[in-house]
Symmetry: C2
Subunit: 340 residues, 2 copies
């Protein structure tokens, strides 16, 4: 099969690899209908050291079940399914309480920008969808694999509801879908911090009430001016770089919550009297247990109440995936859909 492999920063290739096969009785093989490139993929695209041993890329996909291991229940060959970016057994105590990303039998996918994928823990991971292989809903359904569920996680962890003011930091796909998630949960004010007009315009369509293009101290001042000087109850940080963290500390209201879903590209950050402690600010977030959210979000997607698939502004075939990385790296594309 054809599959995407990254050999180092800027070096993404599409190659012919062996077809995936069942290795464990809990596996399934899925033929990929739609995959995509994630903002998270851009971190190694910008920094990965060159290596002769390439890394298979991609963790978001939906497709058709082709083969099923003997220990998998709840799936049939031919099912159209969506897969969370993390697999999980669906039966451990973490999965049962909705924190599938902590499943001891789970892990993160790699290799979904390909014609087919081996899915471990398939019974606990894959979710059958009541649509055909040519459904126009596939792009929106694909966002349940990661970016919509991740934006929703940010909002849920921050306790967003109809009494909450919200700042979203970042106008990438996750940031924009954090706006959509906050709107869906009833937030009364949603301030989107982002500099790219075509993206923040989509943010307004998703529910942003204000857009702040400035960053750093100027951006913080503008958000405070929009909130009577207080800052917002919830800050959804969808970037992952230290300046975004510092900006979050700057715009959060005393007693509020900073909820991070951008994978931190730093380890240490301020948490003491000068940042989180004095104002009783809570810091939360992490890899979203998107599997746990699909049941809640799927009906809204199927019935068209939300259209998270609008984040895809370009579609390519598998052989053009290197161009997709380049376009997203240069911000010429927001998020690229891949049709293998």
């Amino acid at each position: 099969m054809r599959a995407t492999v990254m050999y180092g920063a800027g070096d993404v290739r599409v190659e012919t690899l062996p077809d995936p096969v069942l290795q464990e009785p809990t596996d399934a093989i899925v033929r990929v209908l739609r995959a995509c490139v994630c903002g998270t993929d851009l971190h190694p695209y910008r920094s990965k050291p060159p290596s002769a041993q390439g890394a298979p890329m991609g963790h978001e996909f939906l497709g058709v079940v082709e083969e099923i291991g003997s220990a998998v229940s709840g799936l049939r060959t031919g099912d159209v399914v969506v897969s969370p970016f993390a697999y999980s057994d669906g039966t451990c105590e973490y999965c049962c309480e909705g924190l599938n990303t902590a499943c001891p039998n789970g892990g993160f996918f790699a290799g979904a920008q390909a014609e087919a994928v081996r899915v471990p823990q398939a019974g606990g991971t894959l979710v059958p969808l009541p649509v055909g292989e040519d459904s126009p809903l596939l792009p929106s359904l694909l966002t349940l694999a990661d970016v919509f569920g991740t934006g929703h996680h940010a909002a849920v962890q921050a306790g967003v509801d109809e009494r909450t003011t919200v700042t979203v930091i970042g106008d990438g796909a996750v940031g924009l879908l954090a706006v959509l998630a906050a709107k869906r949960l009833g937030a009364e004010q949603i301030i989107l911090m982002g500099r790219h007009k075509e993206r923040t315009d989509l943010g307004r369509e998703f529910g942003a009430t204000d857009v702040v293009a400035d960053r750093g101290a100027e951006g913080v001042e503008l958000v405070r001016a929009l909130t009577g000087g207080h800052g917002t109850h919830a800050v959804l940080e969808a970037v992952g770089h230290r300046p975004a963290y510092d900006q979050a500390v700057g715009v959060v209201r005393a007693g509020g919550v900073i909820s991070r879903v951008g994978v931190p590209q730093y380890e240490d950050a301020p948490v003491g009297m000068g940042s989180l402690f004095r104002p009783n600010v809570t810091l939360t977030g992490g890899p979203a247990p998107v599997r746990a959210y699909i049941d809640e979000l799927l009906p809204d997607v199927l019935e068209g109440r939300v259209e998270p698939g609008k984040v895809f502004d370009r579609t390519v075939g598998l052989d053009e995936v290197p161009d997709a990385y380049r376009a997203m790296d240069e911000r010429a594309a927001l998020k690229v859909l891949v049709t293998p």
Copy 2:
């Protein structure tokens, strides 16, 4: 009046200062019946640079209202009152939502280890108590000024309830009262990390189900062994030093909460993939809005259902306050009660 002044590390003196007077119409003057020395006072006692200008000390007190400013309502002279360690107006949006430590007209007390105190924002701050000046409940009521409310804040922010396992880090007064607070909220397992047997014995009396005396990696391993390898849902950190933070990260369960009430003696700490983010751990806490908790905790103290005053293991007069600092610094005393 006589009052406690700190001139630098290890240099605490009791001096004669001018009697406090009303300065604002929102002030009251309170004659101090009971004050005490706080673990927080030990930070400057160990590190404050020498200075010719001393700092008045003490932020926990209860006493008798002697004078009342013209704009104060809800108080009468002669009332026995307890004061939170932070004053607040009681009317702003932060006070109304129970985050009195963020009141824009508020601040932290200093100067309560004295015969009398000027109380700003007295109407929003002081709470009349239905007891006499010689009530045997005074020590327990005094803990409502800080340490019991602070332990309770740690437990509340961590979401402690009857389905929660809890680790408390620190066997000082706040740590022990965090145990009591967690027990009061119904926690099923409470592991107290502390090295001083007479203190951890009181912790067991307050509700600790397990005691771990080891620290660092050994302590983390023992807590994990007590929790099926998982760690606990809630970690109440009542120390404030970086090793305690690192220990909290080590013993918290995936998806759990680290709730800090020990004033951090550091600013930066790990928050990235290697610490909080990957396991979706939440970091919360800050200066406790103890004013907001008094209504809830007071009945249990008055009716003897809890006896937080047991943390006082020594009583001194005002002139012996320097000895009280020394005893607490040397861990010869857990918490010293002062009777001016």
